[in-house]
C-alpha cells in the first residue's frame, strides 16, 4: 500500500439521494463524521457552489494543520467534489440510486503531486505517507458510516 493509489470507500444508505445529498452538503457537520476533520468553514459568500473555498482544520494525534479546499463539482443529488490544494488531493463523493436507497461512494484519486506543505505534513509529522493513506481510507469509511447513521436516524 502506498500513497500513490486511489482511495475508495462506499456505503449503502436507506434514504433517497436527495436526503443523502442534504446531509453531505451540510459541510459544517462534516467534522462530526470525519475523524481527521476538526472544522470546515466557507471562505467566501454564497454557500456551497463551484469555486467556493472551504478552510479546514485537520488533526491526527498531536498534529493539527490547516487545509484549503476548492469546490470543483456541485451536481445536486449526484456528485460533490473538492480539491484540497494544500495536499494536492481531490475528494469526490458520488451518489447513485440503489433500489429504494442510495449508494454513497467516496474516492480520492491518485494525487498529482504532494505540495511542499503536504509532503511536510505527511512525511515528517504523520508517520509517513503510506501509513497515512491507509488511515485515510479507514477514516473515509468512518465518515460515510457517520453520514449513513445521521441520515437513517
Amino acid at each position: 500500500m502506498t500513497a500513490d493509489r486511489e482511495l475508495v470507500a462506499e456505503v449503502s444508505i436507506a434514504a433517497s439521494p436527495d436526503q443523502v445529498w442534504a446531509a453531505l452538503t451540510d459541510l459544517k457537520r462534516m467534522s462530526d463524521w470525519s475523524p481527521e476533520l476538526v472544522a470546515m468553514l466557507p471562505l467566501k459568500r454564497g454557500g456551497l457552489r463551484q469555486n467556493q473555498w472551504y478552510l479546514g482544520i485537520n488533526r491526527r494525534k498531536a498534529v493539527v494543520w490547516p487545509t484549503r479546499n476548492v469546490v470543483t463539482v456541485v451536481d445536486p443529488g449526484k456528485t460533490l467534489a473538492w480539491d484540497t490544494t494544500t495536499s494536492g488531493s481531490r475528494w469526490i463523493y458520488e451518489l447513485t440510486h440503489e433500489g429504494s436507497g442510495t449508494r454513497l461512494t467516496q474516492r480520492r484519486p491518485v494525487p498529482r503531486r504532494l505540495t511542499r506543505i503536504g509532503s511536510l505534513v505527511a512525511g515528517t509529522m504523520l508517520g509517513g505517507k503510506e501509513e497515512h493513506a491507509d488511515e485515510l481510507e479507514d477514516g473515509m469509511r468512518r465518515t460515510l458510516e457517520g453520514i449513513k447513521a445521521a441520515v437513517e436516524r
Binding site: 472544522a39 468553514l41 498531536a62 498534529v63 493539527v64 490547516p66
Partner: protein
C-alpha cells in the same frame, strides 16, 4: 541598484508584478511615509527604524540588495528558498503573497512561531528548548500587513517592548509570523491550528492566553478565535488587544477599491493606486468589513491612534481611522463592551510602543 526587472525575473515572478508594481509602489509609499513621519518627528536619524522595516520601507530599503542576493541564492539553491531578509520577504508577501502561495513559490512561507528570526516547530522538544522559562500565561503577538514579528521591537532601543512589559508580569511572549497576503480567514485557520499545537506542546500547562495584534494581526486573531470546532485554546483566551486594527476596513484599501480617488490626494497613498489590480487577498480583505464572530468570553481591548492635521483627518493614524479601530460606524458597533484607548498625535507604528499602552497592558493582563 542593479536591474530590478532582471532580479524579479530571477525570482520567477510574473512580469506584471515587476518593477512598476512592486518597486515603485513600495518606494513611493515609503518615501511619503518617511517624509511625513520625518517632518513630524524631526531629523532623519529619528525616523523610526520600524518605518524602514515596516509596511513599505522594508521592500524599498531591501529590494536592491535583498533581491539581488535573493536571485543569486535562488539560482544556487533552487527550491531550497532564497535568503532574503525576512522583512523583505514579508513585505512582498503582503502585496502578492496569495499568488506566491498558489504557485508554491520558494518565497512563500508558512505561518510559524518565531524566535530570534527563525521558525520554532510547535512540538514539545522545540518549544521547551526555545522557551526554557515558559510560564502558564502565553501572550501571542501578531504583526500586520507586510510586517514581520520584528515590528514589535519598535523603539526597543529607547523603551522596553510590550513583550518585555508582559514578561515582567509573568507572561511568556510568543511571536508568530505569517504571509499577510493570504486572506484573513485563511490565516485565522492557520493560527487556530498552530495555537492548538502550541497549547498541547507547551512545556507547562497553559492557564491563560492573550492575543496582541497590530493592524491586520488583530483581524487574524479574531478570525482564529471564531473558527469553532473542537479546539481547546480559544477557551483560554481572556483578552484580545487590537493595536490600530481596521475592524471596518482601512482607507488605503477602501480607496483602492473605489477607484483610487483619495489615493491621489496624499503622497502616502498615491502609489497604492498602482497595485489595485494586483493586490493580494489580504489587502482585499482590508477593503471590507469582515463578518468575524466575537467570542463572548473574550475581552476586546482596542487601541487607536491619530495623526495631527489633514493626514490625521483623512487617514487616522496614516493607515487606519479611529472608527474602524473601534469597530464603530453610524450603523454598527462591533464591540459594545470593549475598552478603548485613543492615542492622539501618533502614527500607525507609534501604537507599537507607547507608554499609555504599556500601562493599559499591565492593567488588562494583571
Amino acid at each position: 541598484m542593479t536591474n530590478p526587472v532582471g532580479l524579479l525575473e530571477g525570482l520567477t515572478l510574473a512580469p506584471q508584478y515587476g518593477e512598476e508594481v512592486l518597486l515603485h509602489t513600495v518606494r513611493d509609499t515609503h518615501e511619503a511615509i518617511a517624509k511625513r513621519v520625518f517632518g513630524i518627528l524631526g531629523p532623519a536619524a529619528a525616523v523610526p527604524r520600524v518605518v524602514h522595516d515596516g509596511i513599505a520601507g522594508s521592500v524599498y530599503a531591501g529590494l536592491g540588495a535583498g533581491l539581488a542576493a535573493g536571485s543569486f541564492a535562488l539560482k544556487a539553491a533552487g527550491a531550497g528558498g532564497p535568503r532574503l531578509a525576512p522583512s523583505v520577504q514579508s513585505a512582498i508577501a503582503g502585496v502578492i503573497g496569495d499568488r506566491l502561495r498558489d504557485e508554491d513559490h520558494p518565497m512563500h512561507f508558512e505561518m510559524a512561531v518565531r524566535m530570534r528570526g527563525e521558525d520554532v516547530s510547535a512540538d514539545r522538544a522545540a518549544l521547551t528548548a526555545a522557551y526554557p522559562r515558559a510560564t502558564g500565561r502565553v501572550a501571542v503577538f501578531l504583526h500586520g500587513l507586510c510586517e514581520t514579528e520584528a515590528v514589535f521591537n519598535f523603539r526597543a532601543e529607547e523603551h522596553p517592548t510590550y513583550a518585555q512589559t508582559l514578561g515582567a508580569d509573568g507572561w511568556t511572549p510568543v511571536f508568530v509570523r505569517f504571509n499577510s497576503g493570504l486572506s484573513i480567514r485563511e490565516n485565522g485557520a492557520a493560527l487556530a491550528s498552530l495555537l492548538q499545537s502550541v497549547l498541547e506542546a507547551w512545556p507547562v500547562p497553559v492557564d491563560r492566553m492573550t492575543l496582541v495584534g497590530h493592524s491586520m494581526g488583530g483581524l487574524v486573531a479574531r478570525a482564529a478565535t471564531g473558527i469553532g470546532g473542537a479546539l481547546d485554546w480559544p477557551a483560554r483566551v481572556t483578552d484580545i488587544v487590537c493595536l490600530g486594527t481596521p475592524h471596518l476596513g482601512a482607507p488605503l484599501a477602501m480607496q483602492a477599491m473605489h477607484g483610487g480617488r483619495l489615493l491621489k490626494v496624499l503622497p502616502e497613498s498615491a502609489a497604492f493606486g498602482r497595485i489595485i489590480d494586483h493586490r493580494s487577498l489580504g489587502i482585499r480583505d482590508l477593503e471590507s468589513v469582515l463578518d468575524l464572530p466575537n467570542a463572548d468570553h473574550v475581552r476586546y481591548r482596542l487601541v487607536s491612534a491619530q495623526m495631527k492635521g489633514v493626514a490625521g483627518v483623512l487617514l487616522g493614524d496614516l493607515l487606519v481611522r479611529r472608527g474602524s479601530a473601534y469597530g464603530r460606524s453610524r450603523t454598527s458597533e462591533l464591540f459594545p463592551r470593549a475598552e478603548v484607548v485613543h492615542l492622539p498625535d501618533t502614527h500607525h507604528f507609534g501604537l507599537l510602543n507607547h507608554p499609555d499602552v504599556h500601562d493599559k497592558l499591565k492593567e488588562w493582563l494583571a
